[in-house]
């Protein structure tokens, strides 16, 4: 038996979302089992089923450290500048 991961896209603009896993002896049955387990009520209009061994998995610690302050703008400076502008105008 092989383990597969199942991804569903709901109708509309949502991206594909991982919904769970299953075990199956081969790819055809994996697709069939995925339909039985995850789309009994047409929960998706598209489905990807991927063998777990074929997934490339990133290190969560690296992902967590990828963030940098200079890649964000929370608008605080802009707010201050606008306020300063308002005060000097009045």
């Amino acid at each position: 038996m092989k383990t597969y991961e199942v991804f569903l896209k709901r109708p509309g603009k949502d991206p594909f979302i991982h919904v769970g896993a299953l075990e199956a002896p081969d790819d055809d049955l994996a697709l069939s089992f995925a339909r039985d387990c995850y789309t009994r009520r047409s929960e998706g209009d598209q489905m990807w089923v991927v063998a777990r061994e074929d997934l490339l998995v990133a290190d969560p610690v690296e992902l967590e450290m990828a963030d940098r302050p200079h890649r964000h703008n929370d608008g605080a400076l802009l707010r201050d500048l606008r306020q300063a502008g308002d005060q000097s105008a009045s």
Binding site: M1, H18, G20, A24, C37, D59
Partner: protein, 306 residues
Amino acid sequence: MRSWDSMEDFEAFLDDGGLVEPDDDMPDAYREAVFRFIELHANSEYMGGLTERDWIAKAPGLTNKLTALAKTQDEIGHAHLLYMVAADMGVKTRDEMTADLLAGRTTFHNVFHYRAYSWGDQIAIAYLVDAAALASQQAVFKNCSYGPYKRILRRIIAEEGFHMRNGEELLLKMAKGTTQQHELMQEGIDRWWWPSVQLFGPDTRPDDVLLRWHIKSERNEDLRDRFVQKMVPQLTAAGFTIPDPDLHQDPETGRWVSGEIDWDALKAAIAGRGPDSARRLNDARLAWDGAAWVRSALDEAAAVPA
């Protein structure tokens, strides 16, 4: 791989709303406790699915048979999802979990250790047991710290919602039915009221790790109390009685107060000494053995090189 230097760090992460994922280096005690909880849930869905299956042929009328069929698929589907999530924790394989369940080495919910004799019982299960199970699951979902379990619970809860609605529909139909139907329903309520109340378990102990580690989000006694407050008025309004002679309304708060709960009955059921435990487990073994040819066909298919 994420890891934590100490249990304090790990608990701070959980208190902060952190979600634990399968590849994380979680503390062994957490892994064990969460695994056992999910395994119990998976076993219960599986045993529940088998009971539901018995009613596909027996349910009155095509609509009820179709509903029984859909519910059976849902329950067995839930067991599939949960066994996958449990197996990914690396404590036991799926085969080991199945073997343990069938040998009576692991447990499943008390309510599946009783016999459903009539259609009235089956409705009482759909109405009372499903409502109790759903309330417990919602409380887990709300604050669940184990990512894969939380995500799978969202789906399970949505489907259990259908079941509960169906249970209430059937109950109200019986309430408006003939005297005979009313009596059949009352017998069902009489048989299933206490097991449903006991499903929530005894009062949560102050040192319950499931609460501390954000698997449970509410205490058993609070969930149980809410169930009683909701069910007593609904059943009474539909013209039924509750099989608890000591049940009364607190004159000051207006809240319903149950009589004494027989926790020995709960312990006996879970330990496999319930009124129907032996037959239920035997049924599960028969189902497992009966499907041996499917498993061997799958193994043969898996052995064929692609």
